[in-house]
């Protein structure tokens, strides 16, 4: 079994509204799995089903090969998008309470909390009430509470919202470290740059259906258009430009480089080799820039959503 979590054609209706339609995903062990989709696509419903907050109408979810059962809440750490803490409760008491709800003993929870509080340098918050903390500070507590019971599966829904860039980086590093220590992460966000940075796998849900699924690199390969950014320098650039336009499909380009004599995006036919293009270009002018255009996660997202 290489997949920690498998959802098998899960459907869920709320009255007449269909929130999920036959959605299947498989989250490989030790991966960071990006669950993407526009607002209202059904991501949260799927996450809630994985957390056994809502029950699916059809389909089944398996964790580590077993159908989901109540005991599995101990193996899952969930940071919901709509999150908060008891405002008038003290930080320490609150963390202990939430940890005990996840099945930790009080002493165990205390020891682990001490480790995390020292690590994030927040030890002196123990006796403060949540309402005395700033939003970012409360988010840190929330993060600690989510990961404290060392779950096999971590689910983060917009984990970086409310953090300044420094703390966002701190949390990002913690997530990567947890992954390296063996945890599997499901990561739901609208911030495509963090998808780019963190995710190995992604699944895209749109209008209750899964429309895209796989390794991020594979998907990028699928979406690449065999287009290359080209930057050239030549004394007679108009002639060179005309010759290139004769032979290839040319698109305007906007990349940055030092020499801006000729800047082009050249789209090759499906089976054309970039080597042929390169040797043609070197024979005509001096090549300063030659890069394959790789679609960004954001491009893929927008393109997929628009086409569906």
């Amino acid at each position: 079994m290489n997949d920690l979590l498998v959802a098998n054609s899960v459907s869920k209706n709320f009255g007449k509204f269909q929130a999920l339609n036959q959605v299947s995903i498989a989250v490989p062990k030790g991966s960071i799995f990006g669950l993407l989709g526009p607002n209202g696509a059904g991501k949260t419903t799927l996450i809630r089903i994985i957390n056994q907050i809502t029950m699916p109408d059809q389909g089944a979810v398996f964790l580590d090969g077993q159908p989901l059962k109540p005991e599995h809440v101990r193996d899952i750490g969930y940071l919901p998008e709509e999150r908060g803490l008891y405002k008038s409760m003290k930080v320490g008491e609150q963390c202990l309470y939430l940890a005990q709800l996840k099945g930790l003993s009080k002493t165990e929870a205390k020891a682990r909390l001490k480790y995390w509080f020292d690590k994030l340098e927040i030890g002196d918050w123990w006796n403060k009430k949540i309402q005395e903390l700033s939003k970012g500070q409360a988010q840190k507590i929330q993060f600690v509470v989510t990961v404290l019971h060392r779950p096999k599966l971590l689910i983060f829904d917009e984990p970086f919202s409310g953090f300044d860039p420094i703390n966002a980086n701190l949390i990002k590093d913690e997530i990567l470290q947890l992954r390296d220590e063996g945890a599997t992460v499901i990561f739901s966000t609208h911030r495509m740059e963090s998808v780019e940075e963190l995710c190995d796998h992604i699944a895209l849900i749109h209008k209750s259906n899964k429309v895209l699924d796989g390794k991020l690199n594979d998907i990028k390969r699928q979406f690449k258009t065999n287009t290359f950014e080209v930057g050239l320098e030549s004394p007679n650039k108009d002639k060179v430009f005309a010759e290139i336009q004769d032979k290839f499909e040319v698109l305007p380009a906007t990349f940055r480089n030092l020499h801006d004599d000729i800047k082009l995006n050249i789209k090759l036919g499906e089976n054309a080799s970039p080597n042929d293009l390169l040797s043609f270009l070197t024979s005509k002018a001096e090549v300063h820039h030659f890069v394959e255009v790789i679609p960004s996660a954001s491009d893929i997202f927008i393109q997929t959503v628009k086409n569906n």
């Binding site: 709320f14 009255g15 809630r48 957390n51 056994q52 907050i53 809502t54 109540p70 005991e71 809440v73 101990r74 899952i76 969930y78 940071l79 919901p80 709509e82 999150r83 908060g84 803490l85 008891y86 405002k87 008038s88 409760m89 309470y97 939430l98 005990q100 709800l101 996840k102 099945g103 929330q142 509470v145």
Partner: protein, 437 residues
């Protein structure tokens, strides 16, 4: 995984450690006692007001019934004309003038007796005067027919019907009073408890929604566990508060009694004089004895057991509905439309209890309402001191438990869906849909 004890503990401790809860617990008895003292003092002040009432009696024999008392002085103005008397009373700023016309009052007294005053006189003053005159006139009329005063005095009788059930248990009117006090207190206590702590549960559910912690919690525990933990924890806090109140109340009474010992004694002697008179009239000593017997006549074991069951059943039934309301809305102002259907049966129960049960504890209305689950806890608790057959209690309790289970199921459904719903206030139709999610 049973997290119920953990949740109960947290709910209880949060409630009990809450500052306003602590302040309320220790301040409310003080406020209550202070209020009672102020009211007592004010009414005392009112009674102590001295007034002078002038009498202009043209019959000549009625004025002697007006004997000066502690607060009221009567002046006899007989001999003056009505106009002069009114002018004089006005000038003296007396409370008022009672004019009794000379014409044959014995025949038809209508319009023959009038009270003149600046402002409209107090009801108690007027009825006091009326009683005095009525008594005197009645005696006068009887004497005219040849009955002597001694005969009148001797004709006074006091009837007290002794009651005994077929199986020989003696009871009296005092029994009914004691039963009413017990039943009323039990029913009213439940009513107050539901209102106060039901609201507290509702607020605590709303708080979890507004602080957005709810989704974090229910990814660890089942919503129904959270709901039950909340209900039980809050109830325990409520019981704690009630116990502290009773203890504080007792202590305050004792301390106050000690401090104002002398005053109380003085008051007692006054009251005793009055009491002695009534005692002689109606045999108060015997009455006190009756109250003790009435106490012993109460079906105590039945009362206590039934109280426990109906109290817990009724409270849980209502508080689960309060929890459901809390889950359905986002803030307290939105609760109004859902509160009415809860408060209506509760108020109905209290009214039915206080009006029909007093009238006829085993009548159709009381009996029916003591079976309807939403009113049965209050009404049945009021009926039980009067002796309710065990099968009726059992059936009513069974219905209550059945409804309670259904209500919890219903509330849990609403709760489960509602706690994750933000934004607009749901309608009843939507709530009904949630049941099917």
């Amino acid at each position: 995984m049973n997290h119920l004890p953990l949740i109960i503990k947290r709910e209880y401790l949060t409630k009990v450690k809450n500052k306003s809860f602590i302040v309320m617990t220790f301040l409310s008895p003080l406020i209550m006692i202070a209020l009672a003292a102020v009211v007592a003092y004010l009414s005392q002040l009112n009674n102590d007001k001295e007034r002078t009432i002038s009498i202009l009696d043209e019959t000549g024999y009625l004025k002697e019934v007006f004997q000066n008392s502690e607060n009221t002085t009567y002046t006899d103005l007989t001999g003056l004309s009505l106009e002069n008397a009114i002018a004089l009373v006005k000038e003296k700023k007396d409370y008022g003038l009672l004019h009794i016309a000379s014409v044959d009052v014995l025949g038809d007294a209508t319009n023959k007796i009038k009270f003149y005053s600046e402002e409209s006189p107090s009801l108690s003053v007027i009825s006091g005067l009326e009683q005095k005159i009525e008594k005197r006139l009645k005696e006068e009329k009887l004497q005219k027919d040849g009955v002597t005063l001694a005969q009148i005095e001797a004709s006074k009788t006091n009837i007290e019907i002794a009651q005994e059930s077929y199986d020989g248990q003696k009871s009296s009117k005092a029994d009914n009073v004691v039963k009413l006090i017990f039943g009323g207190a039990a029913g009213y206590l439940l009513f107050m408890f539901i209102i106060i702590y039901g609201n507290m549960i509702m607020r605590s559910v709303i708080e979890e929604k507004t602080s957005r912690i709810i989704e974090v919690i229910i990814s660890s525990v089942k919503p129904i566990q959270l709901m039950m933990g909340k209900i039980i924890g809050t109830s325990l806090a409520g019981v704690t508060q009630f116990v502290i109140w009773s203890i504080l109340g007792g202590v305050f009474m004792f301390v106050l009694g000690f401090i104002f010992n002398i005053d109380l004694l003085a008051m007692q002697t006054q009251q005793q004089e009055v009491a002695m008179q009534t005692l002689q009239d109606s045999g108060m000593e015997q009455r006190i004895g009756e109250f003790f017997i009435a106490f012993q006549n109460l079906p105590m074991t039945n009362l206590i057991i039934a109280f426990l069951f109906f109290f817990i059943g009724g409270y849980l039934l209502y508080s689960s509905l309060y929890a459901a309301i809390g889950a359905a809305v986002d803030n307290e102002t939105d609760t109004q439309q859902f509160m009415l259907p809860i408060l209506m049966p509760l108020m109905l129960a209290v009214y039915v209890g206080f009006f029909t049960v007093i009238e006829d504890p085993h009548g159709t209305v009381s009996t029916v309402f003591s079976f309807i689950p939403f009113t049965s806890p209050v009404v049945m608790l009021m009926r039980i001191p009067f002796g309710v057959p065990l099968w009726q209690q059992g059936l009513s309790l069974l219905l209550l438990i059945g409804t309670f289970v259904f209500a919890v199921w219903f509330a849990a459904k609403i709760y489960r869906v509602g706690i994750l719903m933000y934004g607009k206030k749901p309608t009843y139709k939507e709530l009904f849909k949630w049941l099917k999610y």
